[in-house]
């Protein structure tokens, strides 16, 4: 059964249509990565899936309910977001930051319940953030900070998570660690992932499916091994790409003309 259904979605900001009549169905417990050059509409698409951009046409449905018709609270219990540039307020502890993920459950007028606190503790443990719980989140390294942002999204206990370039600014080791953590959640908890990534190699290695966007339209959609070898990918990026098999994994390498 499809967890996320994007039906003829268009998103217009001002006079410019950033996403044009896109239709996608993403099955529960799978990982779908949106790829494409800058300005292709990736962020707009995932923000629409997260309910942050209203469709000018079409709809996004999660679990048979339209995202646009959900209240903020209901939406936060349905889909969580890891933004491209998360704001980490100075002076806020890691625990308090992760606890923000439970806001939709305890509301704005009550403190986290015992259940909320146990969820937060569990997430901190799972993401190896326990030792940092009383640290100012703004003082963490890039990798630790991104894990903290992921922890906040996990604390929302949603079945769908949207990530917009979650590994931006991380070194290779931390990129792999973060994506492995996410892959484990997909396997263990049946999480549905909708992500954008610029790194085509990592996109191909972790996603079950790649969707290539170009100028707000789907250029090609399919298994990672097919998409990274497609002519559409080369045309979309406007450059030579080679795909090399390294120990059974596809590595996408840009080649100078």
């Amino acid at each position: 059964m499809s967890q996320v259904v994007v039906h003829e979605l268009s998103v217009r900001i001002g006079k410019k249509e950033l996403v044009s009549s896109i239709s996608l169905e993403i099955a529960a417990g799978t990982w779908c990565t949106i790829i494409g050059p800058n300005g292709a509409g990736k962020t707009t698409l995932v923000e629409a899936v997260a309910g942050l951009r209203a469709p000018s046409h079409g709809s996004v449905t999660i679990g048979r309910k339209s995202v646009s018709s959900m209240s903020e609270r209901e939406r936060a219990r349905t889909v969580s977001l890891v933004p491209q540039h998360p704001v980490v307020p100075e002076g806020m502890t890691v625990y308090d930051y992760v606890a923000l993920g439970r806001t939709a459950y305890h509301g704005l007028f009550r403190p986290p319940s015992a259940h909320d606190r146990s969820v937060i503790d569990g997430v901190l443990e799972r993401l190896s953030l326990g030792e940092f719980r009383d640290r100012d989140g703004a003082t963490l390294s890039g990798g630790e900070r991104q894990r903290m942002v992921l922890a906040r999204a996990f604390a929302q206990s949603t079945m769908v998570i949207v990530l917009d370039e979650p590994i931006t600014g991380l070194d290779m080791r931390h990129q792999m660690e973060l994506l492995e953590l996410l892959k484990t959640e997909v396997a263990d908890c049946g999480l549905t992932v909708v992500a954008t990534l610029h790194d085509l190699t990592l996109a191909g290695q972790f996603a079950d499916r790649l969707v290539l966007l170009d100028h707000g339209n789907v250029a090609i959609d399919g298994p990672a091994s097919d998409v990274v070898r497609s002519d559409e990918l080369v045309a979309s990026y406007g450059m030579h790409l080679r795909v090399v098999d390294v120990d059974g994994s596809d590595v996408v390498v840009p080649v100078r003309k």
Partner: protein, 344 residues
């Protein structure tokens, strides 16, 4: 630059010290003054509790109860409201320079009060028009600002701030024009603009109390929402916060409470911007702590400033707005030099 988040023990100690300071300021506000000795008033209060006997004459008792007490209580209300409104504005706009006058309250109230003052004795007959027109002007200005900059679904806080700047500039120009047309009233307008608790009475206390009680309560309750909103609009929406609704409610509460206070005491500067910063430096960046402690700190601070304003040059008074800056700025500088600053 960052600081370690404060421990619960530290917050508890600071809260206790703030409460103690507030009590001392309130007692000082009642007891200190040029006409009656401090210990006479303290003795009368103790006698009221059955300890010893009062040496106050009926006239002195009237001075304490009918002049100093309402002045002190109005000072508590004004300080609490301005400080919590400033903290709320700083939280909702995520802007350290925000103060309760950001959206035009001061300019609107100034225009309304000036209109009343220059027309008293002409088309308007009594000085009671001044607070009424100041209140109407303040709320009118904020309403226009909201209609220009905050009404649309995708309006950002920056749009609202810019609308506030535009409305404030327009109304300040109109107020200056009115003032210039009636040079005989300049002194009275100027005194009003600097703020004063000198005209405080129990009736003015009862008039503003409901506004301040409700608005302070709404602002304090909004602390958890402002903490979530500190991660920005899109993120807080994704976390389940109805950002637009929360923003409207807290701005409305802050503005309404500030308008009520300004209509009663004029424009008192500095409290609404510096008190929240002092509190933030002491207890960290969480609005769940900043807001209630700002209420206590602002209340005590303004009563202290007023006590200084009416005693150092007695029998004449210093403008309250001048004293709040003269007392507050050194306190702020000392705290700033002792601790590294934290972000809003």
């Amino acid at each position: 630059m960052t600081t370690n988040p404060p421990t619960r023990r530290r917050v508890a100690i600071i809260t206790a010290c703030t409460v103690a300071g507030l009590v001392v300021a309130a007692v000082g506000g009642l007891a200190i003054g040029p006409t009656i000795g401090t210990w006479h008033v303290v003795g009368a209060a103790l006698a009221h509790l059955g300890l010893g006997h009062s040496t106050l004459t009926p006239l002195q008792w009237t001075i304490v109860w009918q002049l100093r007490a309402p002045r002190m209580v109005l000072g508590l209300l004004a300080g609490a409201m301005l400080a919590v409104a400033g903290a709320t504005y700083q939280g909702v706009f995520r802007n350290p320079l925000a103060d309760p006058y950001l959206l035009g309250v001061a300019a609107g109230a100034g225009l309304g009060a000036t209109f009343a003052i220059v027309n008293v004795g002409q088309s308007l007959t009594t000085p009671t028009w001044t607070p009424l027109l100041a209140f109407v002007g303040a709320m009118g200005a904020v309403t226009v600002t909201w209609l220009i900059g905050g009404r649309r679904l995708r309006s950002s806080t920056a749009t609202l701030i810019l609308a506030g700047v535009a409305v404030s500039s327009l109304l300040t120009s109109a107020q200056t024009f009115l003032q210039q047309q009636s040079t005989g009233s300049i002194a009275r307008v100027y005194i009003w603009l600097l703020g004063s608790l000198a005209s405080a009475s129990w009736s003015s206390v009862w008039l503003v109390l409901p506004y301040v009680a409700v608005c302070v309560a709404i602002c304090v309750v909004a602390g958890r929402a402002l903490d979530v909103m500190s991660v920005g609009e899109d993120e807080s929406r994704s976390l389940g916060v109805p950002v637009r609704r929360v923003r409207f409610v807290v701005i409305a509460a802050s503005s309404l409470g500030t308008a009520a206070i300004v209509s009663a005491v004029g424009l008192i500067g500095f409290v609404g911007i510096i008190v929240p910063h002092i509190v933030r430096l002491l207890v960290g960046t969480s609005y769940r702590r900043i807001l209630p402690i700002s209420v206590l700190f602002g209340a005590g601070f303004l009563v202290l400033a007023d006590t200084i304003a009416r005693t150092v040059l007695a029998p004449s008074e210093l403008p309250l707005g001048v004293v709040t800056a003269l007392v507050g700025a050194p306190v702020f500088v000392v705290i700033l030099s002792l601790r590294r600053p934290v972000a809003v």
